[in-house]
Every structure is written in C-alpha cells, then in structure tokens.
C-alpha cells in the first residue's frame, strides 16, 4: 500500500518530447549528433539515476565531451526524478489516507447497520421479555394465593379441631350417662319417649361432630400446600374433597354429580392435583346458568387415570378456547378472579407427565379431560 518505487526508468523520469528536446540541445552544444541508447557500445557513456543506469549516451565526439554531456543529462534526470519521487510519494500517502478513510467509513456504516438492526429487534425482545415476566408473575401470584388459602385453611382446621374434639368426647360421655340414667330408672314410670329422643339427639350430634372432623381432615389434606410433597394418593378422595370445597361456597343443593369408578392409588403431588381439580370444577360452575349441571367422572383408561369435568354452561368460542390456557387470560371481570386457572391444570398435567384436553361449544358447554399416569418412570 505504501510502496513507493524509487528506481525509475528513463520513460518514467521524462516525457519522450522532453528527452527529444534535451538531446537536440545537447547535440547543438556538442556540435555533433548525440543520442540515447538502450544498449552500450564503444562510443557510449552510461547515464545513471540513483546509481542505476537508465540509458547510454552515444555520439561521435571526444570522451571528455561525451562524459560532460552524460553528466548534464544526469543532472536533468536528477531534478526530474526528485519531482517524480516526491509526487509519487505524495500520491501514495494520499491514497493510503483515502483508503484508511474508506475503511473507517465502512466500519462506521457497519456499526450503524448493527445498531439499526438492534433497535429493530429491540421491540420484539422487550415484548417477549414482558410475556416471560407476566407468566412468572402469574405463577408467583397463583402459588402465593394457594399458600395463603392453605395457611388459612390449616389454621382454621386446627382451631376447630380442638373444640370439636371435646364436643365429641363430651357427647359420648353424655350418652353413657344417659344409659346409666335409663338403667337406674328402669321400671319406674318415666317419660321414656323423652329419653329415647334424647338418645337420638345425642347420636345425631355425634354424627355431626364426626362429619366436622372429616371435613377438617379433608381441608387439611387439601391445605397441604407443600407443593414438593410427593406421594401415593387416592384420586377419588381428592376429587371428593376438592368438589366439597368448591361447593361449600355455593347454594345448599349442589349442581355437581360425581361418578367415581374404583381406581388404584397413583403417585404425584396431591396438593397440586387437588388445586387443578378445584380450578377446573370452579370454572365449570361459573359457566353454568341457573339450571346447569356439572358432572365429574373418574375412570381407568389403560395405564392412565382419566378425570372428566363436563358442564352444560355457556361454553367457549374458538377464540377464547384457543387462549384458555394462557396464564393471564380471563373472561371474568377484573378482580373476580385471575385467569381461568386452566394454566395451572396444564402445568399440573405436564408435571405429572399427563395430558389435558379441552373441548367446548358455544352455548352447549365445555369438557375438560385430565389424564394422569398410574406409574411414573421417574419422579
């Protein structure tokens, strides 16, 4: 790039017309014809530029005179060469600068293009990042809610358990006392109907206490919010508990029918599966109109347990159906609930290497099928 050749030829040093006029002048000075030759001969003197012979000056004239003529020619070439070399160097230096400028310009353009591309993809990246944040926020929210509900339920269960315990125990003692009283007053005229009635009352009360104890057990099982708790559990029990918890908020006559086939126990996270069933049933109930129905069935299909929750509620259109599993998607008013909760169902199915299937017809109802494997290859 910076190569400046400094050995110049005669043609590079002088234009042919300049050579001709110089030779014409020299000839006139010498009084005889001289000429520049490419090859030496006996009557020629070397003409050098920078120690390099560029030509021979030949002519029929005394040696001294020929050498002087050659020297004059060399002086001419020296000054022409000085200019030529300076011009070449200047040209090369300028060219190199220009080349460098072009490279800088190209580098600048490249970096500009990079930034442009970056700014174009920025919106896309921000959008996808927002989606990720939303998703994890939703999951966080869901699990926090679950934990809060669980803690509340567990606390309540504990508080209720103690008084129910002594109520039940006292009722049993009262029953014994009543039997002793009956024994003591045997044969005596007394209002036996009242005593019998009393006995029935106590029995009913004990039944009630037993039921409360069972509910508390269910709540405790459900409220077992330690999500990592992995064990073998009874799915039908879990379905019953979950449904009970959903309907306890509702009117006395439940619109839910259970059709539970006998099932083997299966391994998994009961708290998470419970939450999934709760969400699915809750969803179905909210889709119902006044005389609607929800049917929950369980059955064994090959190596899988199948839970089906179907309703005859308002159903979903294509668009809603396609988005139903999105974490933040909801058809309800903001504040009533966050999402359909179906993303949890899908997550649970995936965690358990199961499947989830949702079908729906607008105005006809929806049907959600959750399949869970009985045996899992790995935990």
């Amino acid at each position: 790039m910076f190569d400046a050749r400094d050995d110049l030829t005669l043609e590079e040093l002088l234009l042919p017309s300049q050579v001709d006029s110089a030779i014409a002048l020299l000839s006139r000075l010498c009084g005889t014809d001289v000429k520049l030759l490419h090859e030496p001969n006996s009557k020629a003197t070397a003409v050098e530029f920078n120690l390099e012979i560029v030509a021979w000056l030949g002519g029929d004239l005394p040696e001294q005179q020929r050498m002087a003529a050659a020297k004059l020619m060399e002086t001419l070439l020296f000054h022409a060469g000085k200019y030529r070399l300076a011009a070449n160097l200047h040209h090369n230096a300028t060219e190199a600068n220009y080349e460098q400028l072009k490279q800088q310009h190209a580098a600048l353009q490249a970096s500009e293009a990079r930034y442009r591309a970056l700014s174009e993809s920025l919106q896309e990246r921000v959008d996808s990042q927002i989606a990720v944040i939303r998703d994890s926020q939703q999951k966080l929210y869901e699990s926090a809610r679950l934990r809060a509900v669980g803690q509340l339920a567990a606390g309540m269960a504990h508080e209720i358990n103690t008084p129910v315990g002594f109520i039940a125990s006292n009722l049993r003692t009262a029953q014994e006392y009543l039997s002793e009283i009956e024994e003591a007053i045997k044969g005596e005229p007394s209002p036996h109907e009242v005593l019998e009635d009393f006995q029935c009352l106590l029995t009913e009360c004990l039944d009630g206490a037993a039921r409360i104890t069972n509910i508390i057990k269910d709540i405790r099982a459900f409220a077992n919010i330690d999500q990592t708790d992995y064990r073998v559990f009874d799915l039908n029990d879990l379905v019953r508990t979950s449904v009970q918890l959903v309907t306890s908020e509702l009117q006395p006559c439940s619109p839910i029918t259970l059709e539970l086939a006998p099932l083997p126990k299966l391994p998994g996270h009961p708290a998470r599966v419970g939450q999934a069933i709760y969400n699915a049933v809750n969803n179905a109930l909210r889709a119902l109109s006044d005389d609607g129905e929800v049917v929950v069935t369980t059955r064994l299909v090959d190596e899988m347990v199948e839970i089906t929750i179907s309703d005859n509620g308002h159903g979903m259109g294509e668009e809603i159906l396609s988005r139903a599993f999105e974490p933040f998607f909801t058809t309800r008013d903001v504040g009533v609930g966050a999402g359909l909760g179906l993303s949890v169902v899908r997550d649970v199915a995936m965690d358990h290497q199961g499947q989830v299937l949702l079908t729906s017809q607008e105005g006809q109802g929806s049907r959600l099928v959750l399949l869970l494997p009985i045996a899992r290859a790995s935990i």
Partner: protein, 212 residues
C-alpha cells in the same frame, strides 16, 4: 548477478538533525558508489517529503548492492508521508534530540515509529535499529548516565552520541546500523556463503572505498 536493494530510514522528532546526519554522511562516507543527495526541504530547514542518498557497491557479474538512505519529515502533521517512507524499510536510525526540553518529543516520536512500523507490517523489536542522541554539543542536554539508566536494558543498547552539525558521530551511527543490518541481509541473500562478503567487507565497501 544478484541485485540487492536496501532501505535505511532516519526517523525522529522534528529538527532533531536527520537531514544534517544525511548531509554529513554524504560528505564523510566514501563508499564504492555514492549518488547525489536529494534534499527536499522548505526554506526553514524542514524536510517536506524526504531526503535521499543512494550508496552501494558492485562487483562485475556478481553483486550489485545498493542502500538508499532516507530521512522522514519529523513534523507531526506529516505522518502519512512518514508511513509511506517507512514502508519496506530494512533498517532504522532513530535520531533523538539530546536537549532536555525535547525528551517528551523523542518519546512521542519513538512511539509513533513503533505504531507506523506496525502499520506497514514491521516489528520494532525485530527490525535492525540504532538510536542516536544528537546535539551533544549543546548545554542543558540529557546526561549519559540518564541515558544508560533508560536504555541499558533495551535491545538497542549501546546508543550512539553525536553532534551532526560538527560531523561527529554520524558515520559511527551509520556503521553501528550496518553491523545490526548485516546479519539480516546475510540471512536473506547469503552474502558470506555465496559472495564471500563478511560483515567487515560489507562495512568497508559501504563506508570507505577500496579497490578490488
């Protein structure tokens, strides 16, 4: 016949005495062949493009060796010209100005030399290089002890000291460079094995004429 063409460049800060070195060399050296010295400077002594002095020696039918001695313009603004002159250099003589006030300029110029060598594909650690501290005739100059302290542990020690204006040390500087240049040229062109040119004859032919 082998034709060998070498290039030695005088480098250094503005006004350090590069052109003066070349002019002195032209007067003092008596190599077998010596061309005209080409001086290109502006009115106030400042080199514009370069100065050049061709010297050499020749053995009929065998070898034609030429060295072109160049100087660069030291002024900062002529950097692209310096780069152009520096390209394809075989050896460098760095002419530093001994005056205390010029030490910063010496350092800047030396760094600029390293940079520019790199840009033209040469390595300051590998190229034959001699460093001359010029203008020793002046007062207020950097002392020899200081120079030794600074340069002793570099590949370029010993330095040469000169007063180019008085013609002192310029030929010695050039000889030192020739000594450092010879091994590289010998390696590439087999000077001693093919042409029987030892370092001693190499120096003799280029600094003082002898008949052969």
């Amino acid at each position: 016949m082998s034709k060998i063409s070498l290039k030695v460049v005088y480098y250094g800060p503005a006004m350090s005495g590069k052109t003066t070195n070349l002019l002195q060399l032209h007067g003092q050296l008596n190599p077998q062949r010596k061309g005209e010295v080409m001086i290109m400077e502006t009115r106030d002594d400042r080199t514009l493009f370069f100065d050049m002095l061709p010297i050499g020696f020749k053995r009929e039918q065998e070898i034609d060796l030429r060295i072109k001695l160049y100087t660069v313009p030291g002024q900062v603004e002529h950097d692209s010209t310096r780069k152009a002159v520096l390209s394809r250099a075989d050896g460098i003589i760095f002419v530093a100005d001994s005056q205390l006030s010029q030490q910063e300029n010496n350092a800047i110029s030396f760094e600029n030399l390293a940079d520019n060598l790199l840009k033209v594909g040469l390595d300051i650690e590998k190229i034959p290089l001699t460093i001359q501290f010029n203008k020793r005739d002046l007062g207020r100059i950097v002392s020899e002890e200081t120079l030794e302290g600074r340069w002793l542990n570099t590949p370029w020690w010993p330095l040469t000291l000169s007063s180019a204006l008085k013609g002192q040390g310029t030929a010695e500087t050039f000889e030192q460079l020739l000594q450092r240049l010879y091994p590289a040229v010998d390696r590439e062109h087999a000077l001693s094995s093919r042409h029987g040119i030892t370092q001693k004859t190499f120096l003799e032919h280029l600094t003082q004429s002898s008949d052969y």
